[in-house]
């Protein structure tokens, strides 16, 4: 139902694209993937959620944990192509204060590279 669709590694950063309901399972899958990349030395991540048009609060709270672990290593996370409802949820949960959001992946890539 929900999964990581694609992982790209352009210009030393990692772009993770997802599909489906952004819940605990998908959140944890993302968290594990990002943790593995952090351990390998990657510090910049882009989450492309264009195909995840809904998120629950558990999914959002896992992203908060991911942001915390990235802050400890001076890394950063950006979102792109957020559905309005996902954007609103992230805003309410306070995520957008710590992460930039971009309307397209290319915009995010340009800003973070």
């Amino acid at each position: 139902m929900s999964k990581i669709l694609n992982i790209e590694e352009p210009n030393g950063l990692v772009i993770i694209s997802t599909q489906g309901y952004f819940n605990k399972d998908l959140g944890e899958e993302i968290q594990k993937t990002i943790t593995d990349f952090i351990n390998k030395g990657t510090r910049s991540f882009i989450l492309n959620l264009s195909q995840s048009n809904i998120v629950n609060s558990i999914g959002a709270s896992i992203i908060i944990e991911v942001i915390e672990s990235l802050q400890e290593v001076d890394g950063d996370l950006a979102f792109c192509e957020l559905a309005p409802i996902v954007k609103k949820t992230f805003k309410i949960m306070g995520l957008t204060k710590y992460c930039k959001t971009f309307s397209s992946q290319s915009e995010a890539l340009e800003a973070l590279s």
Binding site: M1, Y21, I58
Partner: protein
């Protein structure tokens, strides 16, 4: 820097309680002071992540400390403390209680062989107070974080209700997309991991899955789902949202790992479907939906149910309206509904056609404006409105939008609502121009009697291709070609028109149908489109009368110094194929076949003043004595000679 200031500095550098304790460990180690911390409440240790530190079960604070909050350990206390393996204290250790809102939750112990006893006492006291304050601060912060999280969740719930309301308001029809979005919003709001929406198939009474998330829909769709058992039975009887804890009792929930929330979709208080969501997610794994979740779920699903009912009602209204519109537009009667304010509420396509109106433009306008060039019509509408009585008008003249005159048979009836209050008038009318057009068109080909019969009963008219018994008459002017060559064209036309008019009058008198005029030849049918009792006798009578009419015509021609005419007639009876024959550009109702050709051949062999009939005609005549048998004749296309009878005028 004094030691206390140093301790304060060490404590302020770290944010977490665990971090502070670790820093203190380091600090005291450098000072050769033994520092130990114990806790006596597991909840406390868990909250502040102190699981790595010693836990002392059933510690009796009163026995060690009495009414004091700190103690210098002597031999007496040591024997008590040493019953716990965790305590390895020496005499002259200083212990202090860690409080959490006045409740003792742990102990701090300091011991030094080098440091002054007074200093150790001061450090212990300072740390005790400090920890009390830190723990309180942490607790408040933690409560604040939880409250913030809870408020964020509430805000998300409110947002979800707004979103679902918005979603439902933006759809006027049930669609898979709408249900998908409803389910997505519902499961995300309640942190469910999966869910489905079922709707009843009204034909079979089985429930079908309309949309699902995280469920093997194909597997479930193979099962027969009815409201006679399981969750749907419960929803049907309770008609309210319920928590399902016995999930393995129903096919709709046996794949759940914790519990489910289910809610009915009601239409007019009857179960029409259900929303079921499964397995609430938490950071630690699946957890149980509780009554707070049920309340929120119920709130959301009630909106969906209400909207579903509205959508069904709207669909049913649209269906009824469509059905009425179809009926109204298929009838030839013009219908116009005028409301109590005198505004046009409805006009059907027949009425629009007669008046030449664009219905969209006139709806909502007052009839005084709409019918401004039909003052008579306005007057009788007003009369019906005022007197609240039905008004009939026959052959009533109206002008259409382009001021073209139409004749209608009009009825104006006042309309009353369910409270018997007048709610306007309805105009219903038949356009007579159409009927008149049919009459005038057909009158050229058939007698008025036949037209009237056809108008009375359209079923008699079969214009499709079919085989029929028909009597065919051909009448041809003898020697007309050579005659016309000697005459002026205008005179030829004049003579022919007068001749045809005389003949057609006779033909129609005997209910003949003028099939066609080919040059100077007439082809007439008896028995189509309407069958008469004796079509052959009618044809023969027509032919005999045609000679009488020709005599009158010839007298007229003679008086006008124009040439007299002589005609020959051939009549045959038999099966022919009748129908509309031709192309899209020109199509005529006619008959074809061998029997038509034979009638034409008989006409060719008839001399002027002679009628030649075939055997099939002769046998059907009631007045046979007027005809004499002739020698059989050979005609083109027939192998055998044709028997025939003749009549001489």
């Amino acid at each position: 820097m004094s030691d206390l200031s140093e301790i304060h500095f060490v404590l302020s550098k770290k944010k977490s309680l665990k971090g502070k304790i670790l820093s203190l460990d380091n600090f005291f180690e450098h000072k050769n002071i033994s520092f130990k911390i114990f806790y006596t409440s597991k909840i406390f240790s868990k909250r502040f992540e102190l699981e790595d530190y010693s836990y002392v079960k059933n510690f009796d604070f009163n026995k060690l400390f009495g009414n004091e909050s700190f103690k210098l350990i002597k031999q007496k206390e040591l024997s008590y403390l040493n019953q716990y393996d965790e305590f390895q204290f020496k005499i002259n250790s200083v212990c202090s209680i860690i409080y959490f809102y006045k409740k003792p939750v742990g102990i701090i112990c300091l011991f030094s062989e080098v440091e002054l006893k007074e200093n150790i006492l001061t450090f212990t006291q300072f740390l005790s107070y400090h920890f009390d304050s830190i723990i309180r601060q942490f607790h408040i912060q933690s409560k604040l974080t939880n409250k913030t999280l809870s408020l964020q969740n509430k805000l998300l719930e409110i947002e979800s209700i707004f979103n679902i309301t918005e979603l439902l308001n933006s759809h006027e029809e049930n669609s898979k997309e709408l249900y998908q979005n409803i389910l997505l919003y519902t499961i995300s709001t309640l942190n469910a991991s999966k869910g489905l929406i079922l709707l009843k198939n009204t034909n079979s009474d089985f429930y079908e899955i309309i949309t699902s998330i995280g469920i093997n829909e194909d597997q479930l769709n193979k099962k027969m789902i009815r409201d006679t058992k399981g969750i749907l039975k419960d929803l049907k009887s309770s008609k309210k949202s319920i928590i399902i804890n016995d999930t393995d009792q129903c096919v709709l929930s046996d794949f759940s790992e914790s519990n489910c929330l289910s809610s009915p979709i009601l239409s007019r208080n009857n179960l029409h479907g259900a929303i079921i969501i499964h397995d609430k997610e938490s950071r630690q794994g699946y957890t149980l939906f509780d009554h707070f979740d049920l309340r929120l779920f119920d709130n959301i699903t009630k909106k969906i149910s209400l909207s579903f009912d509205n959508i069904l009602l709207f669909e049913s209204l649209s269906e009824s309206k469509k059905s009425i519109d179809n009926i109204m537009s298929s009838i030839s009667t013009g219908i116009i509904k005028i409301n109590i304010l005198g505004e046009i509420d409805y006009i059907n396509s027949s009425a629009s056609k007669v008046f030449g109106f664009d219905s969209e433009l006139i709806i909502g306008n007052h009839y005084f404006i709409v019918f401004e060039n039909n003052q008579n019509l306005n007057s009788i509408i007003e009369k019906s409105e005022n007197e609240k009585e039905i008004v009939f008008e026959t052959n009533f003249d109206i002008l259409d939008f382009k001021n073209k005159k139409h004749q209608i048979n009009l009825t104006i009836s006042p309309v009353f609502d369910e409270n018997n209050e007048n709610s306007g008038v309805v105009l219903s009318f038949e356009d007579l121009s159409g009927i008149n057009k049919v009459k005038s068109t057909f009158k050229k080909y058939v007698s008025e009697n036949i037209v009237n019969e056809l108008l009375k009963n359209e079923n008699l008219l079969e214009l499709g291709g079919s085989e029929k018994d028909v009597c065919i008459l051909f009448a041809d002017i003898r020697g007309f070609t050579s005659l016309s060559e000697k005459m002026e064209a205008s005179k030829v036309v004049y003579v022919l028109n007068n001749y045809f008019q005389s003949m057609i009058d006779v033909i129609f008198k005997y209910n003949g149908t003028l099939d066609k005029i080919i040059g100077d030849e007439l082809m007439v049918l008896y028995g189509v489109p309407l069958k008469n009792e004796n079509d052959c006798q009618n044809a023969v009578n027509s032919a005999i009368d045609m000679f009488k009419a020709l005599e009158v015509f010839n007298n007229k021609m003679k008086s006008e110094e124009l040439p007299e005419l002589g005609i020959g007639v051939g009549i045959n009876f038999g099966k022919v194929v009748s129908g509309n024959i031709g192309s899209d550009q020109q199509m005529n109702y006619t008959v074809i076949g061998d029997n038509v050709n034979l009638a034409a051949r008989l006409c060719s062999s008839a001399k002027a003043g002679e009628i030649i009939i075939s055997k099939s005609v002769f046998e059907k005549l009631t007045n046979k004595h007027e005809f004499t048998n002739r020698d059989p004749i050979m005609v083109k296309g027939k192998a055998l000679a044709i028997e025939n009878w003749s009549f001489h005028s």
